[in-house]
């Protein structure tokens, strides 16, 4: 076998995958602009936009005041004025400060204008727990927006999905909320080689089967995909094969892929690190209970955060969040029902 390049040098992490998508779209679409706190001079709190202001100018990569509502509202207006906008929330937790402008102004614009206006805009930001970020740097608040018609919601778990979904989001004619998992930003173990050009595109609304299996379907997204894969390893040791579905897009939801899996496994466990009550896991359970009831041989279950905020110190945080152990245990109960 001929010598190959060191594979490490060609692999990309989740953060750089996002950056390359934004960079490529900025290069491709002269009408695209980026707005956010500290995204220009600093290059973003996590560095997702590093180098973009030098490349595209202060007028296209703009540092915003600490005004999340204005970031969203100005982005909405710029989109009304013909621009495609990437708006960064420094942490997705801060999105609550821009809530009205998202759910009332932006999400409804297409609807209330009977289609005259559409708002091509991506609101993206680092999300999720497990990092000791405490109450206001650990949230997964996607359910607030899933309950607000007019918004698409995306949450990738791999570098190639991060890039591919970001390109799709930035080309979508609708407002898209893009939940980036900050614990995955620089995780070495998940780095991978990325496709270039149009081959990199991952369409919105298509789930990914992260692992095939026959005995139980674990439906999840974001960081919990990796927890579910670990749980699947545990289940294999017990003699069961778990199918892991990464939905990747919450709105619109790829129900077909989940239903097809349930036809095979007849058992469903949904995993999500957001709080249980009215969380998106509950939505998936509800839809599958009504649409795939006939395939289910056991009560569908969910593993979510407890109905608590995310506490700071590690033992407390891990106590309230879904863990590999909880997922494994719940899956076993479901399989052995």
């Amino acid at each position: 076998m001929a010598a190959t390049l060191d594979p490490v040098t060609t692999k990309t992490n989740y953060l750089n995958a996002l950056k390359s998508a934004i960079d490529e779209e900025m290069g491709r679409n002269p009408d695209m602009i980026c707005l956010g706190e500290d995204i220009g001079i600093l290059g973003g709190a996590f560095g997702v936009t590093e180098g973009l202001q030098a490349k595209y100018g202060t007028h296209r990569v703009m540092d915003m005041p600490i005004s999340e509502a204005a970031i969203v509202g100005v982005s909405c207006g710029a989109a009304l004025g013909g621009k495609t906008v990437m708006a960064e929330m420094q942490f997705i937790d801060f999105i609550s400060c821009g809530f009205d402008q998202i759910v009332n102004m932006t999400a409804t614009y297409h609807y209330r204008t009977a289609g005259e206006v559409n708002i091509p805009m991506v609101i993206r930001g680092p999300a999720g727990g497990y990092g000791g970020g405490a109450l206001y740097h650990s949230q997964m608040n996607e359910a607030w927006f899933a309950n607000s018609p007019g918004l698409k919601i995306v949450c990738p778990s791999t570098p190639s999905d991060a890039k591919g979904l970001m390109i799709s989001a930035l080309r979508d004619p609708n407002p898209v909320l893009f939940y980036e998992i900050k614990e995955l930003y620089r995780k070495r173990e998940i780095e991978e080689e990325l496709n270039a050009g149009d081959d990199a595109i991952v369409p919105l609304g298509k789930a990914r089967i992260a692992r095939e299996g026959a005995d139980v379907t674990l439906v999840t997204y974001g960081q919990n995909v990796w927890h579910c894969l670990e749980a699947a390893d545990n289940l294999a040791k017990e003699g069961y094969s778990a199918e892991v579905i990464d939905i990747r897009t919450l709105v619109p939801l790829d129900e077909e892929t989940i239903i097809a899996s349930l036809q095979k496994t007849n058992r469903l466990v949904v995993v999500n690190e957001a709080p249980m009550t009215c969380g998106f896991a509950g939505e998936i359970l509800a839809r599958m209970t009504t649409k795939a009831f006939r395939y289910l041989d056991a009560p569908p279950a969910r593993v979510t955060r407890l109905d608590t905020p995310v506490p700071w110190v590690k033992p407390l945080e891990l106590h309230v969040l879904p863990s590999v152990e909880k997922i494994t245990e719940t899956a076993l109960q479901t399989i052995r029902f």
Binding site: G73, C76, N174
Partner: protein
Amino acid sequence: MTPTATKTKAAPRKLEPHQTPILARDLLTPEDHRELLNQLYLARYFDVRLIKEKKRGRLRGTLYSSHNQEAVLVGSLYGLEPTDWISPIHRDMPAFFLKDAKNGWRNPERIGMSIEEVCSQVWCKVTSPGRARDNWSHIGSKAKRIIHSTSMLAGTIPVAAGVAYANRLDGGNDVVLTYNGEGSTAQGIFHEAINFAAVHKLPVVTIVENNQWAYGTPLELSSPNKDVADRAKGYSIPGLVADGQDVLDVYDKVMQAVEHARAGNGPSIVECKTFRAYGHGDHDDDRAARYRTKEDVESGRSRDPIAICKIHLVNKGYLTKAEAKKYMAENKHATQTSDEDFPPDVVSYMSKGIEFALASPPPPAEEGAMWVFREEN
């Protein structure tokens, strides 16, 4: 004009090229002045006609009367370029058809809404610009450069700033005029948006229609500022105060802000002091009569913008006293007016709009589920 009715006035002052006008109004022609009065009649007639239709039970939803506040709308809109943007809110219904109205009320090419479109919205018809999906003033048009508002007050100011920013990137210098009540100045987004616009010197003019009452809350409980225009000092931008009953004063002050904005000097706040004639909405008329004293209401309505405009026109010799008395829409409660109190052209314009709306169908029920997402780019 009958020569005996008034003493002959000099022709309007023509400025030599080297002269700088002191006030924007100095460049208005006699025709402009008469058009301002006609637009005041038009705004008033639209309002009183709807009040009457509402009382007859012919309209859905809440009517937020602009009675007594028409000079704010007419005076602020008159000097705009057709391609400038506006964002009216609930009490500004006439703004939709007054935008670019000086290019001909019935001119289909003008960049403003037709009375047919506005009446279609009020009567919940499919011919409304938003196909009657959201109520009353929540219409707009990208093509007509009118930003669609929500019920969340001050919420259009950041959108206006975004429109202005996009326009600047495209090399334009269109001005965006946003309308707000004095109550809106207490909203967080009011601050965030004007702060941002000031940082980037965006051409956004924030009109504050200070009608003294935010629903049932008086100004002194909404704002520590006697003049809410004083809030401008916090952003190092001009804060102008206009007599909201005087269409020419509104015109002057708004034009000052608009020219400042168009020249690249950034945003302004223009407070127009006025008074809400009735309740917050028509549902509130009875209670408003109790939470506001009779004396305050009488005093607040004592300076009718139509009457004040007529005084200007008569003083300038653009209208005879006899002409001024021909259509007496001023100083009357909406229900006391009749069509004879308005110029026939005003009545026919509005009537045609209503006829069109009445003849139009409602939107089909299935449209309720449509346009949540745009399917194609």
